[in-house]
Amino acid sequence: MTTTSPPQPGADLQPARPSWPDATGHFGIFGGRFVPEALIAALDQLTEAYEAMRTDPAFLEEFARLQRDYTGRPSPITEVPKFARHAGGARVLLKREDLNHTGSHKINNVLGQALLTKRIGKTRVIAETGAGQHGVATATAAALMGLSCTVYMGEEDTRRQALNVARMRLLGAEVIPVTTGSRTLKDAINEAFRDWVTNVETTNYVFGTVAGPHPFPEMVRDFQRVIGDEARAQVLEREGRLPDAVLACVGGGSNAIGIFTAFVPDEGVRLIGLEAGGDGLETGRHAATITGGTPGVLHGARSYLLQDDNGQTIESHSISAGLDYPGVGPEHSYLHDIGRAEYRAITDAEAMEAFALLCRTEGIIPAIESAHALAGALKVGEELGPDALLLVNLSGRGDKDVETASRWFGLGDREDVDPGPGLDTEQQPTEGAVAAGDAVAGQEAGETA
């Protein structure tokens, strides 16, 4: 087992850095650079600048200061015993990335890339966004550092995440709804790449996840690994032991890589990624890329992806805009193939059940993305039993999802509807309440609060 020093965000971007990727960005057969030649110079420039920056004391000090004073790191660990009662009695610890400034883990990466943008002398940043969290984080960092900012967002997502569109515009960013293809995250990435290849002289692409061409998967991992570095030390300090399993939702996979990386050398710790199962894998309407996909090339890297026999990307489906992506980071593809991490699918219904449960039992409204990890904890806890210690990355908060959740639970339609399980043991499952709520409320009968 390796040891980790106490949390010092940004003090060193790579304590025990994994031996992957190789110098050209390959994680086994995955990763690499599948982009037009026109972008290679910019990617080389980014790679070189990042390599110089990540060991530069002045940068590290500035990055650490921002993480502490602006983001509010380190984020706390919260134990959620009442939620855990539904997880086979296993103990559940949440890593509270939802408490970061801007409301998710996305700010960790964006501050690093915004500093890098200034270092290479560019004045404009572009970003893609699905749920809007990365867009909000990028708009925030751009406002802070005086960069102009354009965010590409699928038109479909601008509708389901209208709050975040307003936040980005308040922060001074231009939000461009993307109307091509499936009008979601994948198409926003295509448009951002088209912008970048046209404006690369002045513009840096602040990529939001651990996907895309080298160096993005490696660089974003390094900026996000603070989550796991902190959490590992925090769990060791309070429990005197490592968790049995670390769980995180996986869309592109940045919050999962962020919390996994510190634990990769700890062979006894299971790493479990929860993908968006949408309506269920058997329906074909899902975003479970590793669980239900095959290796191929999308958005600049080889990874698992959802594709048809012609190599066309299949449109993904998820209630969660942030997980609604038919690709996944190459490092997750690699961790899957070498057997170091396992990936499972959580359906919309399972995620919303866990969403409601955390709201009512612990007073925490999670992002629907993070609710997939919570749903995974409910299952894994049942499998591992009462002595198990689970660490779950609560990657974001659910303010942006209130409208989606209200619609899911039918809260707008009538008064006094039970949106799901609560602590009140007197409460009976309401006729017509959501199926998810019924299932959990049933288990709760006879328990005392």
Binding site: R33, V197, E201, N310
Partner: protein, 272 residues
């Protein structure tokens, strides 16, 4: 072991002119309609036809090509249709070369693609999102099947990359004249001539063809003055998009090819 693309470009050069290369995507408006348009481009004077394989995420293409390709993707058009178009172009007397983003080729199977493309009479493939650094499997398969492989260079390419990229090419090198996506432009960028000169310095024996932004006879003449080949894409696609029916699309394609073919001949020099 000879390159069909290099031979055709050399033949044009022997006439004292640049070669005309037309791009059209398979499957817009239909597979048959797209093949008819490709044949019309050959009848109008195209020396080489880039047979575009539809792809769901064409990151290097502007709105015109996206619009056409989206229809083909939704109709389920794939590599088999592209190979049929390759046969038709060869039968019409031009040199067919496949233009495809990498994933459709990888999904079809690199070896299988190379074998089937050679059997269909194709010269090789242009791969806009595959750089030689990632092309090991393709280079090996192309070598075995005696196919051309065309990679791209851009104004942002360093001299070192011009050397390494052109060294991996056979047939010609595709000089992307501007930093940006495909689409017609009012003027041909100054960067094009400079890029061609830098590329020639890196690879004196390789033909350099220029694409991105050429849409009419005047621009073709301008580019033909300094490049070995003139590549026209979006303007051809526009002919098909704007046409009332497939016959009108083919007729417009034939007319444009004729105008461009005249353009590349405008400043005919003494045969090289």
């Amino acid at each position: 072991m000879s390159s069909k693309l290099a031979d055709r470009i050399a033949a044009a050069k022997a006439e004292g002119r640049a070669a005309l290369i037309a791009y059209l995507p398979v499957g817009y408006p239909t597979v048959e309609g797209s093949i008819a348009a490709m044949v019309a481009a050959v009848e109008g004077g195209a020396d080489i036809v880039e047979v575009g394989v539809p792809y769901s995420d064409p990151g290097m293409d502007g709105p015109v090509i996206q619009q056409a390709v989206d229809v083909a993707v939704r109709a389920g058009v794939g590599m088999r249709d592209a190979l049929r178009a390759v046969e038709a172009v060869a039968a019409a007397g031009a040199v067919p070369v496949v233009m495809s983003y990498w994933n459709p080729i990888e999904r079809y199977g690199v070896e299988r693609f190379a074998g089937d493309l050679a059997a269909a009479g194709g010269a090789g493939a242009i791969t806009p999102d595959l750089i030689p650094d990632e092309a090991g499997a393709w280079l090996a398969a192309a070598e075995r099947a005696d196919l051309d492989r065309v990679f791209l260079v851009a104004p942002s390419s360093t001299d070192a990359r011009l050397v390494s990229t052109t060294a991996a090419c056979r047939g010609f090198v595709y000089a992307a004249s501007t930093m940006g996506v495909t689409g017609t432009r009012a003027t041909v960028s100054d960067a094009a001539e400079k890029l061609v000169a830098r590329t020639r310095a890196a690879a004196p024996d390789l033909a350099v063809c220029v694409g991105l932004g050429v849409s009419n006879g005047d621009q073709a003449a301008e580019v033909a003055a300094f490049a070995d080949g003139v590549i026209v894409g979006s303007a051809f696609v526009r002919c098909v998009l704007d046409a009332e029916d497939e016959a009108a699309g083919a007729a417009a394609t034939r007319r444009l090819a004729g105008e461009l073919a005249a353009g590349v001949r405008r400043h005919e020099s003494a045969p090289a």
